[in-house]
Symmetry: C2
Subunit: 254 residues, 2 copies
Amino acid sequence: MVRPLARMFIEVALDAREIIDLDAAQCHYLINVMRLGQGDSLLIFNGRQGEWNAVIEATAKKGCKIRVASQSRSQKLEMDLWLVFAPVKKTGTNIIVEKATELGVSRLCPVFTENTKTRRINHERLRAQAVETAEQCRRLTVPDIDQACPLNEVLTKWPADRTLLMADESGGGMPITQLTSKQRLVGTSPAPMHGVLIGPEGGFTDAEREQLRRLKFVTLIDLGPRILRAETAALSALACWQALIGDWYRPFYR
Amino acid sequence: MVRPLARMFIEVALDAREIIDLDAAQCHYLINVMRLGQGDSLLIFNGRQGEWNAVIEATAKKGCKIRVASQSRSQKLEMDLWLVFAPVKKTGTNIIVEKATELGVSRLCPVFTENTKTRRINHERLRAQAVETAEQCRRLTVPDIDQACPLNEVLTKWPADRTLLMADESGGGMPITQLTSKQRLVGTSPAPMHGVLIGPEGGFTDAEREQLRRLKFVTLIDLGPRILRAETAALSALACWQALIGDWYRPFYR
């Protein structure tokens, strides 16, 4: 089994022959985790300028330098899909951030609902998880992660032209496969702007559900007869979206 | 938030007015975890006779008795979908078993491939995980879990009329949405018998992939441009299958 090249997300601008100083954590990852040394190759990306080959130029205890070589992939248009989710107990939230990153979500909005028991969100940890997953799954971007806020705040600011797909565990949503015909997609037309909304363990309250149903931008979807955990519902909806109208369906996004 | 009734999988035959003796573990779950006592209600199912209401008749330290009352749901035909997967590190395998149960898989086949690093499978633990998940997601059955064996053994015994959908991370598979037209589904025709095959971390070897591609019952599917972890690939394929041709699509299975 050929080991794939190490991939690293870097904030700074990238340009051929540029020398970049890495911090201690990045250096530790390359030298101690990936066991690379001077002269070894890696791939780097910054979310804006595609992916580049780079070479480790010099290593030291508290940092190292890499030299940017040639661009390996140019930046591509990515799907514009948001995920609004109520945080669940630690592992569940981790799974949601990891899988949403793998499934090409562009923005994650953690929200507090009436039945949300998990109130503490470590934004830094979620961001680190998203970066690590983006590195591993070969994404060219890292999804944005909002600061957690009450559901109402997200709904008030929600753009009118972005459909919010709400997984309604009380039934009555449309089968998610109807999304395609409803969106009247034509070959290479840009994918619509969507969001997916997943409730907390214990579900939405009746009042919340009623409020959501009345919003014009909300479309109820159905995820089958079994009760899905929050993270299963989230990533089932995301996978179906990518397969039906996202970049599993539109090869020109590859 | 109304707490849903406790649900318990029970092996024995169920009939109205029957008294069933529970073992210490089942009793501990009802009394100490769910905090139920004499006279409290629960739901029980055995995978063959639907779901029944039951009442706790008597409690003691090392066991308790429940009385079967009336049937709450009759047994229904369920989807016939297998998942063949290479076990991944502990959490990954747990996630696969849990999510596959939520997503209605009828049989789980853990297999060893060339690149499978995880060689020890605790069959009892996987079974317990499937039972607990089935209880929570309101399934009427618990998926069968085979003893782990080499991939070749599963392929040799594979039924010729069951399509094995192989997620091919090397590209070239068909978009999973093409499953519907390919299967020429008519309204209420029974869902086709399928299996989903997911490789290990590190993927299949070239030889394995070549062998799989030559098998008549294997159909290659594509799960998009990002590299998915084994468990993400598994449950993405399962969710899409249920949405496209399974019981998210066929309301008469509800």
